[in-house]
């Protein structure tokens, strides 16, 4: 039995009346890749902050490298070799890569003047450790997310790190970038550095980690070797619920298409897109981040009208040049970024639900029919099981999953024929994700035409009956999801 690098046992912490961690244990072996998973609010971030000295625990023991630790300060943690790479990376955006990397060393040396040669040397050594190629004189704000992450990793490696904690490192990365990141993680492992990898994405956990620990509601639910874990167990540990992973088969598909695209083209985004969607069907559209999939959705919703080509609704050509016209044609759009495009965060849940159908909530004399408004709000809160005590509370009071339900409710209230969803479950935890899928499937069976744009392939395969793969703005291929593997789709995407 190897001695553990980090051993935390029965750790407790509470903030006011909230017991953020009730009793959790976490053991990391030297040089292993350990995955910590759990839904939002389960205490993942809290335990990191305790280990790195940001919070002080209320109870329990923590050992690092065999030594018992009473109190941990952030400096202690760094000196012991614990490095955390947060989601926002904590870099200085207005400084160059070299300056960011050398800053700590330079400050520690206590010299009053900057020695630029030294700065370059330090920086070069740092990036060389992970074979990261970058222009050292470039400002950090000009880098891509993946590059910023590499800078943060390089910086973490400069002080002899023994444990690197990565807080959801793959959230903003494309598939290619994730692959590159995983290579680096494996390389760090070879050098004997332990990695604590925080994620709630199932496939990542399986792909990269040696062992795992899962938290739920501030308690440790399971820990062990990833080899013994499977999809079902993983989801069960995360949510405490069991889900069937049945592939959805639509029951109620119309013969005639409800929406047809003919040679739709938008200069610089996509070209020659043709497909049709029938009522009751869920169509998947997938592709890389810059494949033109988002622009396509925006065109169908009138926010970026296409240059040429036709959109046919119920067989007749329609003109859609703004969202109003899209809604008049009974087409709705759940945007990619819920926070900046989908919700009025500081306004009430109720207003968020009724805003798109508001013109139908007028009395004959033009006044706002408040009674009808409240009925609608009540109906949709109940129908989509939005968890709130009072719909007059602002939307910020809800979790990601519930917020996404508000956006769904907003569109369903408009009584649509076609609903386009762009990344419907990004940043939503597994339980809510499953519920949202159920809602979409139910709606399809009630006769709604649904388009899901997503690069979450299991999501696409489970819910959609057909999938279109878009590459460089063109439809590369179309598959029946019953007869396709994830790998086939990935090959077409790249």
């Amino acid at each position: 039995m190897t001695q553990s690098l980090l051993k935390a046992e029965h750790v407790k912490i509470s903030f006011g009346n909230v017991h953020a961690l009730k009793d959790v244990s976490l053991e990391i072996l030297p040089g292993e890749i350990h995955c910590l998973a759990g839904e939002n609010g389960c205490g993942k971030s809290t335990i990191i902050k305790i280990i790195s000295g940001v919070y002080q625990r209320d109870g329990g023991t923590i050992e690092f490298g065999g030594k018992k630790l009473e109190k941990i300060s952030p400096i202690d943690a760094i000196n012991m070799g614990i490095q955390v790479i947060y989601q926002d990376f904590a870099l200085f955006p207005n400084l160059t890569v070299a300056e960011n990397l050398a800053l700590n060393t330079e400050l520690a040396s206590g010299k009053k003047t900057v020695r630029w040669k030294e700065v370059r040397k330090i920086a070069q050594e740092a990036v060389a450790k992970i074979n990261f190629e970058v222009d050292l004189d470039q400002k950090v704000q000009e880098l891509t997310v993946a590059q910023k992450q590499m800078v943060a990793i390089s910086r973490a490696l400069m002080s002899n790190a023994r444990l690197i904690i990565m807080d959801e490192p793959t959230t903003a990365l494309t598939k290619k970038e994730v692959t590159a990141l995983f290579k680096i993680i494996l390389k760090l492992k070879e050098q004997g550095i332990a990695i604590l990898f925080i994620s709630h994405k199932l496939n990542e956990v399986f792909e990269i980690s040696d062992r795992f620990t899962i938290f739920r509601n501030g308690e440790m639910i399971a820990t062990g070797s990833t080899k013994e874990l499977d999809d079902k167990k993983f989801t069960y540990y995360m949510t405490g619920r069991e889900f069937s992973d049945q592939i959805f088969t639509p029951e109620n598909v119309s013969d005639k298409p409800v929406l047809e695209l003919k040679n739709l083209t938008l200069e610089g985004a996509f070209s020659d897109i043709s497909f049709s969607l029938r009522k009751g069907e869920i169509l998947g559209i997938t592709g890389l981040l810059d494949s033109g999939r988002t622009e396509l959705a925006l065109s169908m919703f009138g926010l970026k009208p296409a240059d040429s080509g036709q959109i046919l609704k119920d067989g007749t050509p329609v003109k859609i040049t703004n969202p109003r016209e899209a809604i008049d044609n009974k087409i709705g759009y759940v945007p990619e970024d819920r926070l900046s495009e989908g919700l009025f965060l500081t306004q009430s849940i109720a207003d968020n639900i009724i805003i798109s159908e508001i013109d139908r909530l007028k009395k004959k004399n033009g006044m706002f029919d408040l009674k009808k408004r409240n009925e609608e709000v009540e109906k949709w809160v109940k129908e989509l099981e939005i968890k709130t005590k009072n719909p007059d509370n602002p939307a910020t009071t809800l979790s990601g999953g519930n917020q996404q339900r508000i956006v769904l409710a907003k569109w369903l209230a408009c009584n649509l024929d076609v609903l386009i969803l762009n990344g419907p479950t990004v940043g939503v935890d597994i339980g809510s994700k499953h519920d949202i899928h159920m809602v979409l499937q139910k709606l399809a069976n009630q006769g709604l035409g649904v388009i899901i744009i997503s690069d979450d392939l299991p999501e696409v395969i489970q819910n959609c009956s057909r999938v279109l793969v878009i590459r460089n703005g063109k439809i590369k291929s179309e598959y029946d999801t019953q007869k396709v593997s994830e790998q086939m789709i990935i090959d077409d995407m790249m």
């Binding site: 495009e341 989908g342 919700l343 009025f344 965060l345 306004q347 805003i355 798109s356 006044m367 706002f368």
Partner: protein
Amino acid sequence: MNKVKSIYRKNPEMSRLLLIMACWLIFMMFTQAEKFFTGINFLTMAGQFPEYGLMALGCMLCMITGGIDLSVVGTANMASILSVYTMMHFFGEEGPMPLSFSAVIFLIAILTGVVVGSVNAFLISCLGVPPILATLGMNELLTGLCIVFTNGSAVSSFPKQFCDFFSGNFMGFIPRRLIVFIVVAVLIWFMLEKCTYGTKLRLYGTNAHVAKFSGINTHALLFRTYITSSVCAALGGLMMLATYSSARADYGSNYTMQAILLVVLGGVSPNGGKGKISGVITAIVLLKMIESGINRFRSVSTYYVTLIWGAVLILALVIDYFSQKPKSTK
């Protein structure tokens, strides 16, 4: 105590202003009771605030969208100068003018408002000019035009029937200007609270981008808002005309800042998305009371009025800070 608290929570902007108002009234009671607490004084006040009160009401709508209207004074003077020239054109310098012609005067003011507001809205909504610049430019343009029309001097030889009527009282004691103000205020209250317009306006002010994604017709909304604002301002101009019995390019030039001050004091967030007409009206009345009260003190120069207004604004913001503090630390 809890009941008081819950009332305060329900409408904190208005409550804190009422609190300040009560303190001021008590202060006046002890110092200037016999001069301040007279029917005449209250009537005078009620006749004076409608001119800038109207401008503040319009500006409030723009500010709820996250914008601003700096062209209120220019619009007001343009409306009053155009009205005066119309009266001179039809009835000469002496008159007499039938009082029913006032309807035409109002129509001119409303038209002026519609034109100015449409241009503002066009610049902001269609060309994407920031509201603060679009309306500032508009204000300069209108003031410049007014100076060109009048050669910069006051125009005072025109039939006075309109001015006499609106500077007078209804039933002997209710200022007619106050009635105009109340009618407009009720209309705006109705738009905000009883029509879908109010909800759309607040949501647009919270996040214009999401509003677009939600299918709100943002162009129509902005046109409606800026036109309403300019019409309010033009009516304010008519009230100014009635007060001064003359029109000039630079009357009421400090009303722009005053209108904005009143709107912010009334609890409208300059970032948009939040605001109630009750708060703004309370602010209008409060400031008038303070101004009028100060004028009762012989030894205090009227120059202090500006100073005190600034102090009241800051005081209101401080009360706001302390009343919200326990909430945020929980």
